[in-house]
Symmetry: C2
Subunit: 337 residues, 2 copies
């Protein structure tokens, strides 16, 4: 079979790779229906993270189950499935608490931008989408594999409630999904920080009540104008840079909460957070815990997170899928074998 392999910064190739097999009785192997490129894949593409050797890449997928191991009971060949960007056993004490991304027995995949994927811990990882699956829903189902559940995780972490005021820092696919999550949870004010017209349009579709294009102190001043002068109840930080993290801190009112989704680069002013009673929580999303409820919303066409995909290519053109995101010609690229 063929799949994506990253060789070096800027160098992702469509190559023949060994076909995955059932290695453990808890494995499934799926035939990919759609996969996509994640902002975090760009770290290696951009040389921010190291590429030590040619490595299969990708961690988001929907597909059809091809084979299952002897111990797998909840999915069977032919099922249309979606799973999170990490696999999880579903049985350990941490999974039972709903913190599936921190599963004691979990981990990653050997590259999901591929025609076939081995899914360890299939029972604890995959959710069956009841068929037949409408083709136009595939982008939204794929978005559940990471970005939509990640945006949701940010809103949960930031304690978004009906009536909350929410600021979302970052207008990538995760930031846009955080807007959708906050609006879906009933936030009354949802402020998207965005300077790009195409992303602003998606933010509005997803329920943003206000767009703030200004950055730095001007952006904070604008947020305060929209929040009784004090900042938002909840802020969802979807970038991770020091600037974005400090923007999140300053956009949050005293006593409020900051959901952290961006991989942390740089520090936070812990003393100030304490005296201002601002909370921080976040990390990699518990996709498997959120999947069933969000799948229902997608199937009911209540939410349409697949809207973040504005480029669709054959898997064989994976190099262009990366380049378009890297050069900001696309918000997020979907690929199909």
């Amino acid at each position: 079979m063929f799949g994506a392999v990253i060789h070096a910064p800027g160098d992702v190739r469509y190559e023949e790779r060994a076909e995955p097999t059932i290695e453990q009785p808890t494995d499934a192997v799926i035939r990919t229906v759609a996969a996509c490129v994640c902002g975090s894949d760009l770290w290696r593409y951009r040389g921010i993270s190291e590429v030590q050797e040619p490595t299969p890449i990708g961690h988001e997928y929907v597909g059809i189950v091809e084979k299952v191991g002897d111990a797998v009971t909840t999915v069977k060949p032919g099922d249309f499935v979606v799973g999170g960007f990490t696999h999880s056993c579903g049985r350990c004490a941490t999974c039972r608490k709903g913190a599936t991304c921190n599963c004691e027995n979990g981990g990653g995949y050997a590259g999901c931008q591929a025609e076939m994927i081995r899914i360890p811990n299939a029972d604890g990882t995959l959710v069956v989408v009841p068929g037949p699956v409408d083709d136009d829903l595939i982008p939204s189902l794929l978005a559940l594999s990471d970005v939509m559940c990640t945006g949701w995780h940010g809103a949960v972490s930031a304690r978004v409630q009906p009536g909350s005021s929410v600021v979302v820092v970052g207008d990538g696919a995760v930031g846009l999904c955080a807007v959708l999550a906050a609006a879906t949870m009933g936030a009354s004010t949802v402020i998207a920080l965005s300077r790009h017209a195409d992303r602003q349009a998606v933010a509005h579709e997803f329920g943003a009540t206000h767009i703030v294009a200004e950055r730095g102190d001007d952006g904070i001043a604008r947020v305060k104008e929209l929040t009784d002068g004090i900042g938002a109840d909840c802020v969802i930080e979807c970038v991770g840079t020091q600037d974005a993290r400090l923007t999140a801190v300053h956009a949050c009112r005293k006593g409020g909460d900051i959901g952290l989704l961006g991989i942390p680069h740089g520090d936070l002013p812990l003393g100030q957070l304490f005296w201002d009673n601002k909370g921080i929580k976040g990390g990699p999303a518990h996709v498997r815990a959120y999947l069933p409820a969000l799948l229902d919303l997608v199937l009911a066409r209540t939410i349409n997170p697949g809207r973040v995909f504005d480029l669709e290519l054959p898997l064989s053109e994976i190099a262009e899928a990366y380049a378009a995101m890297d050069e900001r010609r696309a918000i997020k690229s979907l690929v199909r074998p």
Copy 2:
């Protein structure tokens, strides 16, 4: 009138001070019924914080209203009142969000270990206790002025829910009140870290299901034994030292929450908190926001936070009230004029 004045580390004196007056139309002046010594008062007593000049001290009180300014409408002379360790206006956008300790117009008092106290922002600060007030309830009413509401704030910050497992780090008055808060909120497991028999006894009375006397790695190992091997859902940190803060981080399960009450000394491992999805939130407590509900629980004799006072002295013996706490002969000292 007379009151406590700190002159230098270890030197708190009972001295004649100017009688407080109505300075602003929103002020009240109360005649103190009881006051007490806070763990945070000991910073100056122990020389950890500087004493630049003789300074009136104390920030916890219950009393009878003596006079009110022209603008005060919710309390009147003769009312028995309790207020928080900071005053708050009750009208600003931050107060309206319930973050009263971060009030835009709030602040401290000019020393509450005194026969009389000026209360700025009386309407936004004081809560009337419906009379007649049983004398045996006075310690619990006084505890609402700080430690009980602070323990409650830790539990709220750590997202304690019915059924939660909770660890409390620190067995001072605030830690003990955090145990009481967690148990009152319906936590099913409440683990108090304590090595002192007298404090262990109060923790048990307050609803601790387990006491862990071990410290460091042994203490963490014991907590994990009691929490399915993963740590507690919620940890309330009531000390503030680097050791205590790291104990809190390690006692918390992945995906859990840490409520911070101890004044922060030292750093936290932000990267680890992110990858483990552990949240932190806390700071000075929003006493005024919590007061009405907790007052009801005290008046119904559902909670008895006054149990933390194990020494009662005349205000004139304030020096001994400090010395007993400093030397750990008392958990917390109550003084009456």
